[in-house]
Symmetry: C2
């Protein structure tokens, strides 16, 4: 079975960020601008005309025949894009714009599906790949002997090592090369932290339940499924089909109440049992947890690793001697209690993320190393191109930044570095693009956001997000914790400012708060001008005021000192640029991109993994398991192990060809055969084989270990090996 | 403040395994033997006399003066040890033996405390170390800006890298060198898995609550604290003191009801508020969690990583082509909801473990590489020595295994490998011992168990457990899941056995179970002789019988075929040898063991971390931040970074001495200074300094990067560097 299913819309675009983003965005938010710069007009005509001068034609050749078929679809997208832009310009009502944006999305989807269908694809066979993945235990369902569990996977030896090697390269590529800081923070997270970040209120999907069985359904999925079934019914009239179709198109922008009304109007039942359904509820996707034995401390398993970095910002800044910019990375697990996990590794409840938070001044987002990546060619799918129904374009990151398409150098620098990383580990460059978020699907705090998307049999899937998140996160935690998450920058010239300083009665505070008294006076000392003013008023009018959870009365703060002060520094909330990797998704894409079949034998499937990430670097195959081979096998294996090269000895009785096929399956890039020539002739030689070309050379056994080490480190290319040593030709048969 | 507190008994010995082990062990269990071998007599006289011939005198010299003071305490331990042995031999009642074992433990503790007190210790200053740890962000309380949370820590850049490097060495030392398999399994674990493993029923501490505030107390801690307070009261008579003292001694062996009775008898109240306390309850230490939206799937955060390996046993065996022995490793987080976390990193709610499960035939626990470690000298504290009041003895692991002290070669091999690993990363060999579990504190499934303990300011703390767990875990999961966790071994000669095979009515089964029908027939096909007999009887007598959760009736299995079969293989439940690392505890011990103060300046504290684990390998210090130094700094830093060497450039304005002090603090082993000689003379040279000796050499700048790489990899020793290049002498001042 050849399966190249297009399921891209099943994959929520915002897996790596707030899942309700799409639903909550409004046209108003979409056109709001960031306060220090104005990159607000992605997708606007004016902007686009300027940018087009810089665009180069996509290096993937276009087929005129296919393009002819796509032309009407492209035109439909463009027409709708123009309409949306016009409505926004005219200040049309929010709800009207929303509906048209939804229609735009549908037309884009139609174009994308057709493009994928018409352009020739690899003969990728997902069933065959999954068979290999399962058979050689790359990964598999967790707890299968207990019946298994959806949305959770155990990584076996191969998957585990592949992920580890991907992460080890990630560390070298980002943390060491960029001299980043690194943290490893708690996964059990108290509620106030995630309240401040917005997750407690917004990190939710809508859900209904079967009233009898309790089975849960994601509301939008349920409605869509019901409608699709109805439309496939022969009795369904064209009129009804059109009506339903319109409703499906509007789903994405509906409120929970609107969707609930549809469920009631069409009397929808549980698709499994036919039972009634409950009213819809918001289901928060975080796993709640109670920390400590009393049950008093509410918390959650973190839904992303980023917050751990934000709450440590002050310590990290101090560690960096108070200087900006700096970046901090974290690799670790995160958790989302998906309502109905599916699509294998693409939608799971437990997953690994690798996130970087780059802190910089909001008014200086230049990057000192930008020049080093300036000429990197990238396939960029701009918001504008998406709205115009155009395809993605190849250009250098320098052109994209200089032309204003990518908001700033630092964002561009990371996009290029992300691409370099993905290519290094083996992602197919022809199946990688960077897609810019449309204004209205971007989180409301982000100034510009690009997703690195990989083309897989599930469609284009988001693997890495790269966003300029402005000052959102640090501002939120300042509000939530009362600790100012700011950096001080010396002013060129001192400035005179108003100040309102509380004058606490330390005796009264000490009496009331005892051991917390110090915390209270410290909190008072760090109040902003506005808060201090507020507080003074409240103490007069209401009689009390809360600071960091401490209730203060007038007797504790009898007076406030008002004066003018000369200040020499300004306090700034840093901006954050955030590259965020969904490791499981990159891993899955990598498997699809490197999965191959031998041209002469479709049964011989294998993963063409680059040596740098291959779990096992080399196999050692004695021609037979006769004793005379043993010494050579042991010695060679020990030398390879001493160079920390993971290896596999296969002294089973199969033919060499069959054994090579087994090592190919798990992506072992190099294979050594010990044969009778090894034993009988001096100097002792072996054959060394490369997996993808199946070429072999004959070389002295003593030279092998270091050669493999260099090949595995990418310091030596296979071509150089074939130039240095004589080729060895032997029939490689699996019989 | 010099603090060398002895709090070893606050550290639960069984942190790495079931916390109730101590409470649940009974004398009966303690003397039970494993079925295929009889290593049941640890601590028995007979055994000991044989073993003593092999013991060598501890290489740590004994001080005769101190030994004189310790002699009476040693005698007291021995006297009690003899009594316990005699009682066991005589088959005395379980409860009586338990009481005397408790008294034995108390005497051992007294001896240990006195030994630690009398033998000279380092001038370790915990407060100073903690100050450095906090100041340079090795680790710190999680979520401090939100008030912090006990029992959870965030690792900052230094701690994070140190742990990563420890784990990377662990991977090389164990996984790659031993060619182990590796897995990465789910942390969210469904209840049945942990029911089978015994955690749902037994992984608990006893707890009482303040009836008003809800504050929770660990029952044994509360009673002990109350008694100690009472004894320190002047009004407390000697008679009462003796009585209370006896009760404290018995606490460890008491049931929850017995402890609860004490709380009531002494009318104990909440120590914080004086409020009444609730009745005691068992508090399971696992974090419960609900997987999926319906709330129907109960689960827990895993309390250890081991279970993930056990439930994947069949896949791993298949991956290993059906062969034993093999080992599988897993590194990952585990969670325990401690009632009252304390002692910093030693008792936390979220922690990293690194566990290995080595599967082997129960009747062959030899190890092919044992000879490679046979001569490793180890400080072993046998159960026998503990009961005799003797101190730990140094001997080779070969002597220990041959003499029967360590149960088998594989266990011994891992103990030696554990020691080699710990020494490699910087654990002080003089503060490392292996302590054998006493019969009665060993988990009931273990055949022999040794803890690698590190001496810290909290006393000897268990960092690594190394246990022969026999067939316990796999047998439990066979029972729990119905899947036979066994391996087939060819018999030398075929054997004739009885067989009882169910003959199902596939139609009836298909009708009832539909898509599960296949699972049902498969389950029926794999029933053991005993279960099949049981089932046949039950179907006749009761009319129904449950197999893997499926209720079967007589009509579905109308008959059973009884016959004799010739079998060519035997089915064996493998034994498991388990080294289990508590990474946070090793990390903390390592920090204590490497924390130093300069002899000439106690303010200059630093961590003497081996280069192989040091977070940053090298610092680059230009003499001043003048422009002429910049080119050299940048070039050198880039070359070092290209060799993946984490480095720190410190171009701040402090004196070189002060900057060295800063780099020493975070354990950077090597420092390069770029001075005027670098700029003015050809070839360009720099100074290279080693942290512990503060020695410096002068060498060409081009030779530096590779020299550091080799030093960091342990391929080059500092001594060789000093022999190759001229020494450089300069005053190193912090002023």
């Amino acid at each position: 079975m050849k399966a190249f299913q297009i399921l891209s819309f099943l994959v929520r675009k915002t897996q790596l960020r707030h899942p309700l983003t799409c639903l909550q965005q409004t046209a108003k938010v979409a056109t709001s601008s960031c306060h220090w710069k104005s990159p607000s007009n992605w997708g606007s005509k004016k902007h686009a005309s300027k940018r087009k001068l810089l665009l180069q034609v996509n290096h993937l050749a276009m087929d005129p025949e296919i393009e002819k078929q796509l032309a009407p679809l492209r035109a439909k997208v463009k027409e709708q894009g123009d309409l949306v832009r016009q409505m926004k310009t005219d200040g049309a009502p929010e709800m009207d714009v929303k509906k048209q944006v939804q229609e735009l999305k549908n037309r884009k989807k139609e174009l994308e599906d057709m493009t994928l269908k018409l352009y020739p694809q690899d003969s990728f066979d997902r069933a065959k790949m999954n068979d290999l993945i399962k058979r050689r235990f790359f990964y598999d369902n967790s707890f299968a002997i207990y019946g298994g569990i959806t949305g959770q996977y155990d990584y076996g030896p191969m998957g585990c090592d592949l992920v580890d090697n991907m992460l080890s390269e990630w560390q070298k590529h980002f943390v060491i090369q960029e001299r980043m800081l690194k943290v490893n923070c708690s996964i059990l997270t108290p509620e106030p932290v995630l309240k401040a970040s917005g997750h407690v209120d917004k990190f939710a999907d809508y859900m209904v339940k079967d009233v009898k069985s309790g089975e849960c359904f994601r509301l939008d999925h349920l409605i869509k499924q019901h409608f699709e079934k109805r439309m496939s019914d022969k009795k369904c009239t064209q009129e009804e089909k059109d009506l339903i179709s319109r409703k499906i198109n509007l789903l994405d922008g509906m409120t929970m109440e609107e969707m609930d009304a549809i469920v009631k109007e069409y009397d929808m039942k549980s698709p499994s049992t036919g039972n009634d359904l409950t009213d819809a509820v918001e289901f928060n996707l975080m796993f709640p947890i109670s920390i400590g034995p009393s049950g008093a401390m509410k918390g959650f398993l973190r839904p992303e690793t980023a917050q751990g970095i934000f709450v440590n910002f002050k310590r990290l800044l101090e560690y960096n001697q108070g200087k900006l910019p700096f970046a901090c990375a974290q690799i670790g697990n995160a958790y989302r209690n998906e309502i109905s996990p599916r699509s294998g590794l693409l939608r799971v409840r437990e997953f690994t993320m690798a996130e970087i938070e780059h802190f910089c001044y909001p008014d200086d987002k230049s990057h000192p190393k930008f020049n080093q990546v300036a000429n990197t060619e990238m396939l960029l799918y701009s918001a504008c191109a998406q709205m115009d129904g155009e395809s993605a374009k190849t250009m250098t990151i320098n052109e994209a930044v200089r032309g204003g398409l990518v908001a700033n150098e630092t964002l561009g620098y990371y996009m290029a570095r992300i691409q370099l990383y993905l290519l290094k580990i083996g992602i197919n460059p022809k199946k990688l693009r960077f897609r810019q978020h449309l204004g209205n699907e971007m989180a409301h705090y982000a100034c510009d956001c690009w997703d690195a998307e990989c083309l897989t049999s599930y469609g284009w899937i988001e693997c890495v997000g790269c966003a300029d998140r402005s000052a959102y996160d640090l501002s939120q935690h300042t509000k939530g914790s009362g600790v100012r998450m700011t950096v001080e920058r010396p002013l060129k010239e001192p400035r005179v400012v108003d100040s309102v300083v509380p004058l606490p009665d330390k005796g009264a505070i000490g009496k009331t708060f005892k051991k917390d008294a110090k915390a209270v006076t410290e909190a008072l000392a760090s109040l902003s001008l506005e808060v201090a003013e507020d507080m003074d008023k409240a103490l007069t009018n209401v009689g009390e005021y809360e600071v960091n959870g401490f209730k203060l009365t007038r007797s504790m703060v009898p007076a406030f000192k008002r004066e003018q002060k000369k200040v020499h520094v300004e306090e700034i909330v840093p901006s954050v640029i955030e590259p965020s990797f969904g490791i499981g998704r990159v891993f899955y894409s990598l498997l699809e991109h490197t999965f191959k079949m031998r041209e002469d034998d479709e049964k011989r499937t294998f993963f063409a993994l680059p040596a740098v990430v291959a779990p096992i670097k080399v196999s050692v195959l004695p021609l037979s398991n006769k004793t005379e081979f043993n010494t050579f096998v042991t010695q060679l294996a020990d030398s390879l192990t001493n160079l920390n090269l993971p290896l596999r000895v296969d002294d089973s009785t199969g033919s060499i060809g069959r054994r090579y096929a087994r090592t190919d399956e798990i992506g072992i890039p190099f294979g050594i055969t010990i044969d009778f020539d090894t034993i009988n002739n001096l100097p002792h030689t072996v054959t060394l084989r490369e997996r993808d070309s199946t070429e072999q050379v004959r070389m002295p056994i003593d030279d092998v270990p270091l050669t493999i080490r260099h090949l595995a480190d990418g310091k030596l290319q296979w071509k150089e090996v074939t130039e240095k040593w004589p080729k060895f030709v032997a029939q490689e048969t699996t019989k």
